[in-house]
Each structure stands twice: as structure tokens, then as C-alpha cells.
Amino acid sequence: MISEEVLKKITHIVGQKHLIAGRDELAEYGSDATKLEAMPDAVVFPQDSEEVSLILRLATEKGFPVIPRGAGSGMSGGAVPVKAGIVMAMNRLDRILAIDEDNLICKVEPGVITADLQKAVEDIGLFYPPDPASVNISTIGGNVAECAGGLRAVKYGVTRDYVLGLTVVLPTGEIINTGVETMKGVAGYDLTRLIVGSEGTLAVITAITLRLVPKPAARRTMSAFFPDVSSAVDTVSRIIRNRIIPTILEFLDRHCLDCVREELNLPIPRKAGAMLLIEVDGEEVLVEQEAEKVRSVCNQAKAIKFEAASGKEEAETLWEVRRNVSPSLYKLRPHKISEDIVVPRSRMTEVVAFLDEIGHKYGLPIPAFGHAGDGNLHVNIMLNKENAGEMESALTIIRALFEKGIHMGGTITGEHGIGLTKAPYLEMEIPRAGLDLMSRIKKAFDPEGILNPGKIFYQRI
């Protein structure tokens, strides 16, 4: 519990208006998309690097936890204040500081909503590609802290690939600039990319320089249904082998298709065992040629049904299936545990078969969908969390799934991060030497361990 004296000091830094300490209002800041909950002692809304610095310095001196927070849309509990302390909500730092068309870069504060930035740059013919599913609410600061991915990663990469430089406040209060405002730079260690994806455990980000690209002139959306997973995965390989890198290559398995069909009555072939949603973008003429190649690859791979949208509206219809997957799964069970593994693309068929088998064994449905282009599968273990037996089965399934994925050369998280929920499993993937180095790096940045404690590094609570 934080002392009155400390609260008073913090109030003095940010002003009465920008501090919440009343229990009712605090609850909102104690959770994220995982629905895990913990109560912070207070929530503070700093307005600039200097205020952040003063608060962090105080925290290091007095030893209370600080939990940086964007929109709280994280999927691994990164923003949940498990050790109480001060939630540092970055919402007031919400300005787009500059968009530099000549150099294709922009500078933003962390509280800018990702979709707002996308719109602002698209209005002048530019493009910020990373688009996590939470794009309409998530903040750029959160995206950077988690290294958010999204649908377009197969062609455009993830948040990390667009961060050129950062302004960050260290837990000891120093403000530093990392990286460059140029397209490349190799002076010294890459502190920028060390901080990207560090889940608010190393420093608090107060400004971000991002790389932009020209907005693609045209895009084509297509969907294809296949009798089984292996023919869909084979199609993905063939597309890549034909040297086409689509913007989007989404995969849905049979469970997902069944749920969406029943919920929305969409025209999904009954025999369909898998679906691919494919989008290509670029110059008008080139997009036409690529779309034609994709069509012929899908036909060769014996797609049951292939559709190409001719306009924006038709594209929306094709998207409907994918958009409705997540909510429609709840018809199977009241709760869901989402995992986020990545495996080498060629092994996806094996993973889906494994899920069918293990789901059958434990009597739990495990629908999977995800970004087939990256081999990133969102595995959804459907269960009733009140049922202790089902909960126990789910944990067994998770461990088996992680073992399988890591054995294939994969990773336990492609875009959601470790946070709280995957912390107990991190040592399955990262060797002892790696964990040692990471915790020593953490210590170098944050000697008192005040920043987002309990995350990434597993601690029994």
C-alpha cells in the first residue's frame, strides 16, 4: 500500500485532477483483455516526459511499482497491476507531433490510438501498416511495448519493423533518446529494438518515431474454401513459392467455419474443412496480375469454392466470416483461452491435426484461426472455467501445445507477449542462459524492479 505522503507527492507532480485514488474508479484500470484483475493503489495521468520522470524517480526512491498502461487491450495481462502500485495511464500524451512527408516518418506520443494515426497518414497518401485486431482502441505506445503484430505482417512485418527511434524515461528518472530519425543507423547497440516488445518492464515510452510507407494504390480481396487443412496450407506454400507475398493470408479451420455458419447463416460450403482469406495490394495493374495468379494457384490446389471481390463492398462480405469468428466461438463453451503460437509455416497442418486429437482426448473443442502467412495460429481452447476438470485439461493442453510448437522451432507467442499468462511457460522456450541475460538487462535498466513487476519473469504470487 502506498503511503499518503507518496500520493501527496504524486498529486503535486501531476495535479489533483490527474490522479485517481477512489476504489470505484480504480477497478477499470485493474484489468485488460485477459479479464485478469488486480487493484492498483492509484492511477496517474502524466502529461509529459518530465512528469513521468519525476514519478519514476520517486518510485525508485520509495520502491513502489509503476505499471505503464495504454488502452488495456493486451492479451497476456501485461497491464494488470498484480503487485498493486501506481498505474501510469499514458492517455494524455496523445498528440501526433509531426508527419514528415518528405522523409516518410512521423513522430507521435504513446497515447495516440493506432487507427487515428493510420487515418491521419492515409489522408495524405501514406500508410502505417501494422494493424493489430484491437487497432480501433489500442494505442501506439501499447503496440510498441508489446511489439504488436496483425493481419498484414506477412507482407509488411510487425510494429518492431516500423520503430526508428524512441524517447523513453528510465525507472531511475533519466530521459533518453534512442535510435535515429533516418531510414537506417548502426551506431551502438540497438536499444530501440530492445525496448520494443519489453512490455513496459524496461522504460516508459514517451515519444515514438515511426517509419511510414506510401499507401498502396489498390487491393484485391479473395476467399477460398478447401476440403481440408492440408490443402489450404499447401496453397499457402504454393503462393509463396510462386513468389507472391500477399498482404493478408488468414486461415480458419473447420470448427471456426462451423460456428460462423451456424451463427450467421453465411454461405460457407458444408464440406469446407478450411478457409483462406487472401488480400494482395500494390499498383493497380500489378495487383490484377497477382490476384489472377492467386486464383490459379487456389484452383490447382482443388479449392471447393473461390471468390474474388470486385469492389469494397464485396470485399467486406468476404471479411465477414473472419471478423465474426472470435465472438461466434462462444457458442461452443462460455469461456475461451487464446494462445498465440507460431510454427514454421509448413508445420501448420500438423499442429491443427494435433489440436483435433488432443481436443478429442480431453473433450474440449479447440478451434484455430490465424495468420497463415506467418505460421501464427490463434488457438482457442473453449471451456467452462467454473468446471475444475475442464480448467485442468486446458492447462495440460496448453503445455502440450507449447512443447509441440517449440519442438518444431516455433515460439509460444507471436504477437500477444508473455505478460502474466505466459510467464510460467517462458522457460520452456528460452534457455537458462537467455533468461539470465534478460533478467540482468532488466536489472541494469531497473535496479529496484519498480517497472511492471511480475511480468515476463515468472514469480509465484
Binding site: D102, N103, L104, G125, C147, G149, A153, V154, D161, I176, N177, T178, V180, E181, T182, M183, K184, G185, V186, A187, G188, Y189, D190, L191, R193, L194, V196, G197, S198, P214, P216, I240, R243, I245, E283, V285, V342, P344, R345, D374, G375, N376, M408, G409, G410, T411, G414, I418, L426, E429, P431, R432, A433, G434, L437, R440, I441, K442, A444, F445
Partner: protein, 459 residues
């Protein structure tokens, strides 16, 4: 080096993989920079376990270890400036796996860049960074220095393709980082921290690289500009046009004059020449892109635009750019090649600044570079036997760095810090950032045995 240590090293790598003969030590004393210093010995390692044994021994005995690829680095990072053991990784030169389905290649560090290129050709894929030293440089060196190249504007640099590593730490532990997949956010990004760390944090013994489909067609054109502002604007507007050229190179006036004096290319003697290449899978596609770029050039007052009709013509246009380094290198007894990078819109200003600096110090500086990502290579030509000129070179270098930083740029876009730029690190990084880098170094290498004195990390 005492006999006991020598013997211990031989026990690890075998007698045939150890040398301390003078001729070898001299060969290992330099790289492509102006620095040199002899090591005590050199060893060739063939397995991660041998690397582990060497590091453990060196850590206990506090002997510097300098990992080495092809020694093509331009800033002295593989020069054993404090002596010690050169760890030559050229024997670890196997391509372990190419998987087109998974879009990746797994290689040992000693594989030569071009050898991987050749192995990927039958699959229609490539590893894009394309450093100028591609014929000889090793992939381990590329990763350690985060090498860039001609295709940076469109395809990025080495960093963008490294998915995972196997590295040996100074305490001898062998560690894997990253994964064999397209993405991962599992823990801190140790992979990207090691990329570009210039052999100061760990020794890379295996690399997993993302590979890309290789375009089969290109269009090439060369445009001349009567003044730098027009050229600068043409560059910015090109990058903004929606077309990203696969190469966008600039030659400044001094470079053009030098090429004309030393070859029979007869380039027009203008303020700037821009060489542009677009790539794709059909000529129709690449010409479509090229036409858009040419429109932008015309709008910005390009004097003369030559478009290559066939491959031979394209090669001729490329000769101008590719001969620059060698032509300039012959003019004086010595040269240094700088590597500053500025925001694209400041290229014209930077080029003018370079001319002013050259004039002020009465020294020749010719500039060319990768305009598409703002990376310029001013080549300072001087007589290294004339102390006055050496002084002028050093003063001009310092001013170049300062100007680059003032324009929002960086000391180095792709060559790295090494020894050459070590004393300028504090120009770009504030004391706290330097402290953080030092703590990271200490975390990985508490006894400072790995490539010591590089990157300006020692106080």
C-alpha cells in the same frame, strides 16, 4: 602468449587450426579500415563447442578474443587493437538448410554472402541486403555489423532478415535466440540486440535468416541534375510517389569529375547524377514503375534522362556508380570512406555541407551513396604520409559527423562504429544511453574480453 595457453588452444581446435606465424599475424592485423594491430595468435573454430572452449579459456585468462569473418569491415571492428586471439569463423561455412515453404535459410557464420545467393537462385529466392563486399564478406560478419547495401531503400538491412541466432557467450554457454518462424515476442529481443553488436557481446555460430522472392526483371535509368536542390527534391518525391525503387543512388560532382578523369565513361559533368533501378517479375511491371519515377525526375528539372533498353545498357549505367569507390581510392595514397545517414530531405544540404567542409580544410572529398535511405558515403582522399593532410582529414571527418547529427542524421548507416568512430559515439548518444550500452556490455561480457576497445564503450 605463454606456452600453456597456446597448448590449451591447440587442444581445443587441433594443432592445424592454430597459428602464430608472423605472416598469419600480419594478415590478421588489419581489415578494410585504416587501423591495424597484430594479434598474439589466430584460431579456426569448426564447431560451437570449440568456440565455447576458446571463450571459456580466454575469459579465465583475460585474453581478448576478436571474432573475424572476411575482414572486409570498414571501421576497424575486426582489428585486434589490444592483441589477443583472432577467432576466425571461415571454416564454419555450411548452409545448413533452405526451406522455401518456411521462407528461411539456416547458415553457419562463415558462409560467404554470394554463396548463399547462388544456393538460393534455383528456388527463385534471395537474401536481399546486398552489401558491396558480397563476393567475399561472410554472413556472420553481415549480422555482427548489421550490413546494408544498394537495396536498402526497398528491402531494408540485415537486421530485418535475422529471425534467430545461436551464440556462444563469454562464459562458454551456447544459447539460442529468436525462433525459426516469421515472428516472436517471447521475452526481450536478444536477436536484434546481437545484430550490429560488432562481436562485442557474443560469438555467432548459427544464423536463421528470412529470405524473399527474387524479382526477375529490372529497369534502369540515369538522370542528371544541374543543381542539388532539384536532385534532392526529386529523391524525396520519388519515395513519396508510391513506387519504391530497388536502388536509388546518387553521385556528387566531385565523384563524377574523378570518374571522368580516370575512365572513358564521359559522364556529363553536372552537380548530381541519380541512378535508379526498379524491380519486379515482368518488364512491363518494372517499366511501369520506372515511368512514374521518370515523371517525378522531369518535374524536378532533370536535364537528361537515359533509360537502358537492354541488360548491357543497364550494366553500362551501373558502371558509373560501381567504379566510384575504386577510382577514388587510386587518386591519393590514402582515403577514408564515411557512412553518414541523414533524413532524405536533407541530402542536398548534406552534399553542399560536404563541399564546404572540403574547401575549408583544403582536402578532396567525393560523395556518392544510397540516396533512397539517406545513406551517403563521402570518401576523403588524402596523403597519409603528410601530417598536415592527416590533420585536415581528421578535422574534416569530425565536421562531417557533426553536420550529419545536426541535420537529424547518424554517424553510420551501415559500416558500424568499430574503432574509426568510437570517439564520436557521444556526439550521437547522450551519457545515459552510453551508460545503458555499457551495462549491456558488462552483462554479456563482465571481463571485457570480447572485441575490446570497439564502439566507444570504454570510458
Amino acid at each position: 602468449m605463454d606456452e600453456k595457453t597456446k597448448k590449451a588452444l591447440m587442444d581445443i581446435v587441433g594443432e592445424e587450426n592454430f597459428t602464430d606465424s608472423l605472416i598469419d599475424l600480419v594478415s590478421y592485423s588489419y581489415d578494410a579500415s585504416e587501423h591495424s594491430h597484430r594479434p598474439s595468435c589466430a584460431v579456426w573454430a569448426e564447431t560451437p563447442e570449440q568456440v565455447s572452449g576458446i571463450l571459456k579459456l580466454a575469459d579465465t585468462e583475460r585474453i581478448p578474443v576478436i571474432p573475424r569473418g572476411a575482414g572486409t569491415g570498414l571501421s576497424g571492428m575486426s582489428v585486434p587493437i589490444e592483441g589477443g586471439i583472432v577467432l576466425d569463423l571461415n571454416h564454419m561455412n555450411k548452409i545448413l538448410k533452405i526451406s522455401i515453404e518456411d521462407r528461411l535459410a539456416v547458415v553457419q557464420p562463415g558462409v560467404v554472402y554470394d554463396d548463399l545467393e547462388r544456393a538460393l537462385v534455383p528456388h527463385g529466392f534471395f537474401f536481399p541486403p546486398d552489401p558491396a563486399s558480397g563476393k567475399v564478406c561472410t554472413l556472420g560478419g553481415n549480422v555482427a555489423t548489421n550490413a546494408g547495401g544498394l537495396k536498402g531503400a526497398k528491402y531494408g538491412t540485415t537486421r530485418d532478415y535475422v529471425l534467430g541466432l545461436q551464440v556462444v557467450l563469454t562464459d562458454g554457454r551456447i544459447m539460442r535466440t529468436g525462433s525459426k518462424t516469421m515472428k516472436s515476442v517471447s521475452g526481450y529481443d536478444m536477436t536484434k540486440l546481437l545484430v550490429g553488436s560488432e562481436g562485442t557481446l557474443g560469438v555467432i555460430t548459427e544464423i536463421t535468416l528470412k529470405i524473399s522472392p527474387k524479382p526477375t526483371a529490372t529497369s534502369t535509368a540515369l538522370a542528371t541534375f544541374g543543381n542539388l536542390e532539384d536532385a534532392g527534391r526529386a529523391l524525396s518525391e520519388t519515395m513519396y510517389s508510391g513506387i519504391i525503387p530497388s536502388a536509388l543512388e546518387i553521385l556528387g560532382r566531385k565523384t563524377i569529375l574523378a570518374i571522368n578523369q580516370n575512365t572513358d565513361l564521359n559522364l556529363p559533368e553536372v552537380d548530381a547524377i541519380i541512378l535508379v533501378e526498379t524491380d519486379g517479375y515482368t518488364r512491363e511491371e518494372t517499366d511501369y514503375q520506372m515511368n512514374k519515377v521518370i515523371e517525378v525526375f522531369k518535374k524536378n528539372n532533370a536535364d537528361d534522362i537515359k533509360q537502358a533498353k537492354a541488360r548491357e545498357e543497364a550494366e553500362k549505367l551501373w558502371t558509373a556508380r560501381k567504379s566510384a569507390y575504386a577510382v577514388l581510392a587510386r587518386i591519393k595514397t590514402h582515403f577514408v570512406l564515411e557512412d553518414i545517414t541523414v533524413p532524405m530531405s536533407r541530402i542536398a544540404e548534406m552534399l553542399k555541407g560536404v563541399e564546404a567542409i572540403a574547401e575549408r580544410h583544403n582536402i578532396q572529398i567525393a560523395t556518392y551513396g544510397h540516396a533512397g535511405d539517406g545513406n551517403l558515403h563521402p570518401q576523403i582522399l588524402y596523403d597519409g604520409y603528410d601530417p598536415e593532410q592527416v590533420k585536415s582529414m581528421e578535422a574534416a571527418t569530425a565536421e562531417l559527423f557533426k553536420l550529419s547529427i545536426d541535420l537529424g542524421g547518424t554517424l553510420t548507416g551501415e559500416h558500424g562504429i568499430g574503432l574509426s568512430k568510437a570517439s564520436f559515439m557521444t556526439l550521437e548518444h547522450d551519457p545515459v544511453a552510453m551508460d545503458m550500452m555499457r551495462s549491456i556490455k558488462k552483462t554479456f561480457d563482465p571481463n571485457n574480453i570480447l572485441n575490446p576497445a570497439k564502439m566507444g564503450l570504454e570510458e
